[in-house]
C-alpha cells in the first residue's frame, strides 16, 4: 500500500509551490506573465488538492484536504525545501520552476505507471501540466541567461543559490531520476549560456522529515490565518 507520508510530501510540494507562485499575482514583470504564472499556480494547486485528499484517505483519520493544508504546523509538512524558498526575484522563480518541473515531470511519468490506481490517475493528469511548466521555465531561463548582462547575472546567481537544494529531490527511492533530471537541466543551462554549478559541498535537506527553513512557518502563517481564526467554520 502507498505510504501516507509519501503522498503527503508530494502534495505539500505542489501546495507550497502554488502558494509561492500565487504571491506573484498582480506583480509579474509583464501582464502576459501574470496570466502564465497564475496558470501554473492553478495547476500545482489542483494537483495538491487531489494528492492531499488521497493522503487523507490513506491515513484513514477523516482528514480532508483543508484539514491537512490548514491545520498542520510546519514540523508536519513534508515538502522539499526548494519550494518554500522566497521568490522576490523573477529569475529565482524561473530557476525554481525549472528545477521543480524537471523533477516532477519524470516522477509523475513513473507514478502514472505505478500499481496504485489513484496515484497513477493523479500523476497522469499532472505530468502533462509539468511538461508545460518545464517548457515555460526553459524558455525564460534561456531568455534571461542569454538576454542582457544584468539578466545573465541574476539568472546565474539564482541557479547557483538554488542548486544545493536540488539534491534533496532525489533522496530515497527515486534517486535514479537524477540522471534524467540532469540531462534536462544541463541542456537548458547550456542553451542559456549559464554555468552548471558543481556538485558537492553543502546539501541542505530535512524537508521530508519536517525540518524546514525559517521561511515555511511564515508562509503557513499567512496561508492559514483566516481558516484558523474560525475553528470548525465552513467556507
Amino acid at each position: 500500500m502507498t505510504d501516507f507520508e509519501y503522498v503527503l510530501g508530494l502534495g505539500d510540494d505542489a501546495l507550497v509551490a502554488a502558494q509561492r507562485l500565487a504571491q506573484w499575482a498582480a506583480r509579474a514583470p509583464e501582464m502576459e506573465e501574470d496570466i502564465a504564472l497564475a496558470n501554473i499556480a492553478l495547476d500545482q494547486l489542483g494537483t495538491a488538492r487531489l494528492l492531499l485528499t488521497y493522503a487523507g484517505e490513506l491515513e484513514g483519520a477523516d482528514r480532508t484536504e483543508d484539514d491537512l493544508a490548514y491545520l498542520r504546523d510546519d514540523r508536519d509538512f513534508h515538502n522539499c525545501l526548494l519550494v518554500e524558498l522566497p521568490e522576490q526575484d523573477f529569475a529565482v522563480t524561473m530557476a525554481k520552476l525549472l528545477f521543480l518541473s524537471a523533477y516532477q515531470k519524470p516522477l509523475y511519468d513513473r507514478l502514472a505507471d505505478s500499481g496504485d490506481e489513484r496515484l497513477s490517475a493523479i500523476a497522469a493528469k499532472a505530468r502533462k501540466e509539468s511538461a508545460y511548466h518545464l517548457d515555460h521555465a526553459s524558455l525564460w531561463t534561456v531568455r534571461l541567461g542569454d538576454g542582457t548582462d544584468e539578466s545573465h547575472r541574476r539568472m546565474q546567481d539564482a541557479v547557483d543559490r538554488l542548486w544545493p537544494y536540488t539534491h534533496e529531490l532525489f533522496e530515497g527511492e527515486h534517486a535514479d531520476l537524477r540522471a534524467q533530471w540532469l540531462a534536462t537541466v544541463e541542456a537548458v543551462l547550456a542553451d542559456a549560456t549559464l554555468t552548471r554549478p558543481a556538485d558537492g559541498g553543502w546539501t541542505p535537506g530535512g524537508g521530508r522529515q519536517g525540518l524546514h527553513t525559517e521561511h515555511l512557518s511564515y508562509l503557513l502563517a499567512e496561508m492559514q490565518v483566516v481558516h484558523r481564526a474560525h475553528p470548525g467554520a465552513r467556507w
Binding site: A25, M31, L42, L45, A48, H230
Partner: protein, 366 residues
C-alpha cells in the same frame, strides 16, 4: 493624441467604464444578463447582413454604419472625437481591470479553503486577461499599449474609483464579487452593443467570463451569512462598506453627467447613469433577501407607483474626492502598479535583447 486622451480631472472617469458610457440593450426586462450578452452577439452578426445605403462621403458612410446598427471597424474612417472618446473609454476600462486585480489579489494567499483559493486565483487571472483583451481593442485605434500604460502610471488616465477602497476581511472578496462585479456587469452588458466592433467583441467575451465572478461572490457571502455568528457578522460588515461605493460606480447623477448626448448619437450610450443605478438596486434587493443580509439603507423601499425601489443616493462628494486621488488606497494602488512595472523592466529588456540576438542569428526562422 496622448494629450487628448489623457484625462482631465473633472472630464472623465466617473462616467467611465465601470461607469457606463457605451451602448445599451433595448429591453432587458426578464432576460438574464447572460441572455443579454448572447442577444448582443446575435445582433452583431445579423447587423452585418444588412445592406447599407450607398454613400460616397466618409462621414456619410460612418453615419450610415451607425444608423444601421452595424459595427465600425479599425480601418474605417471615423470622426476624430469618436476615436478619442473610444480610446479614452477602452483604456480606462483596461486600467480598471489591471488595478482591480489588487484588492482581491490581496486575499489569494490567505483564502480560507483550497477550493476558494483556486477560484479566486482564476478570477484574478481573468481580470488580467480582460485587461489585455481591452488594451488590444484600444490598440486597433492607433495607440500603443505602452503609451496607455504610461498614461496610467503617470496618473493622466484614471481607473474605476471603486478599486481605491481597501479589502479588509475575507468577506470583502464576496462583497466585491456580488456588488462590484454585479454593478460592473449591469454597466458592461450594454457595452456588448457598442458601435465599435473590436470593443463590442471584447466585451462579449468578457461578459461571458464575468458571469462566474459574480456567482462566486454571491456564493461566498451566502456561505458566510449561513455560517458561524462571526462569519455572518463579517459578511454584513463587508456589504455595509461596499454598498454605497458600488452605487457610485454608475457615475454622477444624470444632471451632472458629461459626454452623454454625443455618446447617445454614436450609439455608445442608451441608458443613463441613473437608469442603470436603479436597475442595479432593483436587482440587489431580491438577492440580498436570499443572502439574508441587509442593505445599509433605512430608506430603501418599494415604490408601487414607480415600480422601482426608492433608495438613498451615494455620497457624490466622496466619489469626487476619490476620483481626485484622495480615496483610502489611491496611492497604494498606483504605487503597486509602478513598482511591478519598474521591477519587471530588466525581464522585459532581457526578452527583447534575446529576440534581437536571435533575429541576427536566424534571420528567417522562428
Amino acid at each position: 493624441m496622448l494629450q487628448d486622451i489623457a484625462c482631465g480631472e473633472a472630464s472623465c472617469n466617473t462616467d467611465g467604464v465601470y461607469g457606463n458610457d457605451f451602448g445599451a440593450p433595448d429591453d432587458p426586462a426578464g432576460q438574464s444578463l447572460l441572455d443579454q450578452v448572447e442577444a448582443a452577439e446575435r445582433e452583431l452578426r445579423s447587423a452585418a447582413e444588412r445592406r447599407l445605403a450607398g454613400d460616397d462621403h466618409l462621414q456619410g458612410y460612418f453615419e450610415a454604419i451607425i444608423e444601421a446598427d452595424q459595427k465600425v471597424e479599425p480601418r474605417d474612417w471615423m470622426p476624430d472625437d469618436y476615436r478619442r472618446s473610444l480610446v479614452r473609454q477602452i483604456a480606462q476600462h483596461a486600467h480598471s481591470e489591471i488595478i482591480g486585480m489588487q484588492p482581491e489579489g490581496n486575499w489569494i494567499t490567505r483564502a480560507p479553503s483550497l477550493k476558494r483559493k483556486a477560484i479566486l486565483l482564476a478570477k484574478v487571472q481573468d481580470e488580467a486577461g480582460h485587461g489585455l483583451y481591452l488594451y488590444a481593442a484600444a490598440e486597433t485605434l492607433g495607440v500603443s499599449r505602452d503609451e496607455l500604460v504610461e498614461l496610467l502610471l503617470s496618473g493622466r488616465q484614471k481607473y474605476s474609483s471603486i478599486f481605491n477602497y481597501p479589502t479588509l476581511t475575507w468577506a470583502d472578496v464576496g462583497a466585491i464579487g456580488w456588488l462590484v462585479d454585479g454593478a460592473a456587469i449591469v454597466n458592461q452588458v450594454p457595452l456588448c452593443r457598442c458601435s465599435y466592433g473590436p470593443y463590442a467583441r471584447a466585451m462579449i467575451r468578457i461578459c461571458k467570463e464575468e458571469s462566474f465572478h459574480q456567482r462566486q461572490g454571491f456564493e461566498i457571502l451566502h456561505t458566510l451569512a449561513h455560517g458561524t455568528p462571526a462569519q455572518r457578522e463579517m459578511a454584513q460588515d463587508a456589504v455595509n462598506r461596499w454598498w454605497y461605493p458600488s452605487l457610485a460606480m454608475f457615475g454622477p447623477p444624470d444632471s451632472d453627467s458629461t459626454h452623454s448626448e454625443r455618446s447617445m448619437a454614436w450609439k455608445i450610450k442608451r441608458f443613463s447613469n441613473d437608469e442603470l443605478r436603479q436597475r442595479f438596486v432593483d436587482m440587489c434587493v431580491q438577492q440580498a433577501s436570499v443572502l439574508t443580509l441587509s442593505l445599509p439603507d433605512p430608506d430603501l423601499r418599494w415604490n408601487a407607483e414607480r415600480e422601482h425601489y426608492d433608495f438613498t443616493q451615494p455620497d457624490f462628494d466622496e466619489l469626487m474626492q476619490v476620483v481626485k486621488g484622495n480615496g483610502p488606497c489611491n496611492r497604494q494602488r498606483i504605487e503597486h502598479r509602478r513598482r511591478a512595472h519598474s521591477e519587471g523592466a530588466w525581464v522585459r529588456e532581457a526578452a527583447a535583447a534575446y529576440a534581437a540576438k536571435r533575429a541576427v542569428r536566424e534571420p528567417a526562422g522562428v
